[in-house]
Every structure is written in C-alpha cells, then in structure tokens.
Amino acid sequence: MALTPDEVAKLAELARLSIDSKDAESTASSVSDILHMIDQLKKVDTSAVAALSHPMDLAQRLRPDEVTESNQRDEFKKIAPSVERGLYLVPRVIE
C-alpha cells in the first residue's frame, strides 16, 4: 500500500497534525514503507482465530461507587498553558 503525499496530508489532518510541504514526499514514503511491511499480515488465514486485544484476557474490574479522590482543580490548572478564572482558555469556538 503506497500513499500519496495528498493522502498523507488527509491522514495528518485526521490526527490533527500538519506535515510541512517540504517533508510531504519523505513522510509519504516512510509511512508507505511501514504499510508495506505490515501488509504481510494479510496473507495469514485467521478466519478461525479470535482477536486478542489484551494479553491477560481480563474482565473490567469494578469498584464501589465511592468518592476516592479529592478535588485537585487548582493543581491541574497550574500546569495549563492558558487559564482565566479557573477555566482553560482556547481560541474562540462559537462566533
């Protein structure tokens, strides 16, 4: 599977990345190389195999619905790039 620089740009947009136009060719080529490498998986017949999403085959553990953590809002705000009156600031979303 070889991707064109345009396809990689689309992929980058989905991942909220932007690829510099001068790197477009080389990124497309290295991503295509990786896709080519993983393409060999397609040759394996796995029709009778169940997917393994996790090595331990665990069930989700439940816990009592109790408050276990204290509010650390101020701690978390301290490390944010831009905060005003306890709120995260971002560029205007709604005009």
Binding site: S30, I34, T46, S82
Partner: protein, 487 residues
Amino acid sequence: MHNKTIREILNDLASGEYSSREITSSLLDRIKKLDPELNSFISLTEDQALAAADSADSARSRGEAKGLCGVPIAHKDIFCTKGVRTSAGSKMLDNFIAPYDATLVKNVADSGAVCLGKTNMDEFAMGSSNETSYYGPVKNPWDTDRVPGGSSGGSAAAVAARLVPGATATDTGGSIRQPASLCGVTGVKPTYGRVSRYGMIAFASSLDQAGPIARTAEDCALLLESMAGFDPMDSTCIDKQVPKYSESLTDSIKGLRIGLPKQYFNADINSEVGTLVDNALNELKNAGAELVEVDLPHADLAIPTYYVVAPAECSTNLSRYDGVRYGYRCEDPKDLKDLYCRSRSEAFGDEVKRRILVGTYVLSAGFYDAYYRQAQKIRRLVQQDYITAFEKADLIASPAALSTAFKFGEKTADPIQMYQEDLYTIPANLAGLPAMSMPCGLIEGLPIGMQFVGRQFEEARMLNAAHQYQMLTDWHTQSPSEYGSAK
C-alpha cells in the same frame, strides 16, 4: 563506591560502612562530572535526593530501615514525579511538572530508595537508539560514538557507567531489554500487569510495562520487589501477591528446561552473537539445565503485528496532547483546529508523528478489519505459540538484540531497519510474558545480552536462572573502561 551493586550498598549501609548521604553525594558528583558527555539524565533532583538520603539515614538509625532504604536509584523520565519535570523525552512535555507521583515512584520511595534524577529516553518511548529524544541522544558508555539502545537508553547507560546502581525503565517492544543488551547491564520486563502503569506516560497501553535495569539479576529482583504490586488506580494491574524474588535466586536449576526457538537459532542469527549465546547456554547446561528445541511458528509476524497494534494505541493515547490542558502550546493560534495542529506538529518529533499517522491509518474506517483486527488475531497466534512452547520448556532463551551497539545515524534513515532491532524482544510484549536480558559476552569490546522469556508471573524462575548464570560467569561485572573502577 560507584562500583557497588544494590545488594552491596544495602550491606554497607547496614554495617555503617558509609551513609546514604555519603553515597548519594558521591554519585551526584560523579553524574555531574561524567554525564555532560553521556547525556543519560534529563533532570537531576539533587536537593530532593539529599533530603531523602538524610531521612533514610535517620530511619536506619532508628532501626526502621526497610526494602531499599538509602539506595540511590534513578527513574526513567516517563514516570510522573510530583513537582519535578516529567518530559517523556518530548518537547511536548518539556514544561510539564507532574502534579502527582506514579504508583511505581511512590512504591520505590516507600521502600526507602533515593531518587537522583530522571533519565533520558526516546521521545514517548518510541525508538531503539535514543536518537529520538528532544534532549539529544544518550551515548553508550562502552563507545561514545555508538547508541545505548532505546527507548530506556538513559537508564541503561547510567547503570552501565556506574552513575547509579539501578534505575526504573519501561518496555513496550524491547525498550528495557535491548538497551540492557547494548549497554552490558541486566534488565527485566515483568509480566503485563505486574507493575502499575498509573502515572507512567502511556505509549501503547496493552503492551507497556515497567521494570528494573541494574547490573545483576539479584539487584533487579530487589528493585522489582519494591516496584511491583496491585494498584487499584490501574485497571489492568493484576491483584496477585508479589513473591520475594530475591529469596529464590539460589535455588538449583537442575532439571530446568530451557527452550531454544528454531526460528531464532538458525542461519540468520549473527554468528558472533550466536556463539556467545551458545556458550551461555552451555554454562546453564553444565549447571543442570536441559536444552530443548521449541517452535514459535509465527515469530516472523511479530514485528508487523506490533507495528499495527503499537501505532494504533499510540495514536489514540497521544490524542490527549492538545495544547489546552498541559504541555506545549503554539503561539497565537488562529482557531481551535490551528491550536491542535500546530501545538502537536511543533512539539512532536518525526518518529512520533510517523507512528501517529500509521496508527490513524490502521484504525480508520475501511482499514480497521484488514489491519487492526487482523493484527489482534495474529497476536493471539503469537501468544498461543508461547503457550504451546511452554509445555516443553520452563524458559525460552534467545539473543536479546540483533548485534552489539551500532553507530549514531546508522539506522535513522530507514525506520524499517530500526524496527528490526526488536526482533527478539517484541513477542514477549505481544504475549504479555515476563522477559529479561543479561550480559553474556563481548564482541570487539562491546557487550551483548541473552534473553530469557518466562511463563506469565514466573519472574522468579527467570531471575533464579539468570542469577545462577551470573554466579558462574563474570560478564555482568565487566564495565566500560572509561567509566568503571578506573575513574
């Protein structure tokens, strides 16, 4: 003092040979003198270390010394340390002061260990040479023109250079074992779920596992005892008693069955590496182990499987870096999308971006079944191979890495070639099995490691065999001449 192992330091502290403050200061001085060249640390936490050493000394004087009381260690900079920068080797987190401690960090501190600082690593643990770190590559103390391996290259190099007797690390596809091999130290990747991942910056959540790097299997056993244990904060951490690994090290290995996968011991193996691993296996055989051939028919599919699963999980995990709540934010974003795109593009390095792109692709509609679902199915086949092989063998041995440390820049141009570095290590992550690397020889003055893989939760058996091997040989005591006892 810097040549002492953790076991020796514990004995010396107990007998009053020196205090924790003395060895802590001495190692901090050594780091300040030697690390500017090696670059194995991203941050030194000198004040906290000295304070921790003092409280360890006073605990000891009150007769309250436990676990690793007073032993200097370092944490890979992927573990959150409250009030201390936790960068994951990325520009994205260069300004990130963790607001809490990882459970592992807390456990190790509770055992009395003294953290000297945070070690360098490939960006978000994605790399096999430490060349993707935002803070520059770590140099291999055995030859500073060469890579230390990765992603835990800082931890491995710091231990090899005798800057610290032990360090924590993480392993998603070989990031403990491959640098341990390239730096001539011992490293353990425990069973998935043995050590809490809470506060460990996520790369690929179904594969990531934390473990120790030290000079000996015995020291790794001591470190692992303090790191491991159930944690309700990590939903995949297993609620299972942590054995006293250090107490079964001297058990006899008579009758231990060591499996040799025919897919690895064949014409493709680097012949010098193969000879050294054969020598090591002969030592174990002389000590009473039996060598048996085992079959891992899907071994050749492990790397492609990994390069679907790991990028898929990485693209999901790294979507949290949005420039809003913490981490890097671009200047003057014109709208929200621009804020996301530029913050991420300016702060992630090329390898991280590449893996996010691959992960986004294999998870996208129309490709999910062909790539991601298929890889998960093959992951089961890889795991099944091990379950079958472990009917015939108690441990599985192989080289830990393809060859000795390579030169800077040698593999950076071709990601696929770099990915091959983890040929021997990736299957244990896919199958969730414990595995370790230990030094088994030198080729032209550069170390090479042998790998053991064990059954789930059988770290004790693996550490026992490694300790017995280290009692019979002295490869683990070799040090790079410039950084060993001479300096």
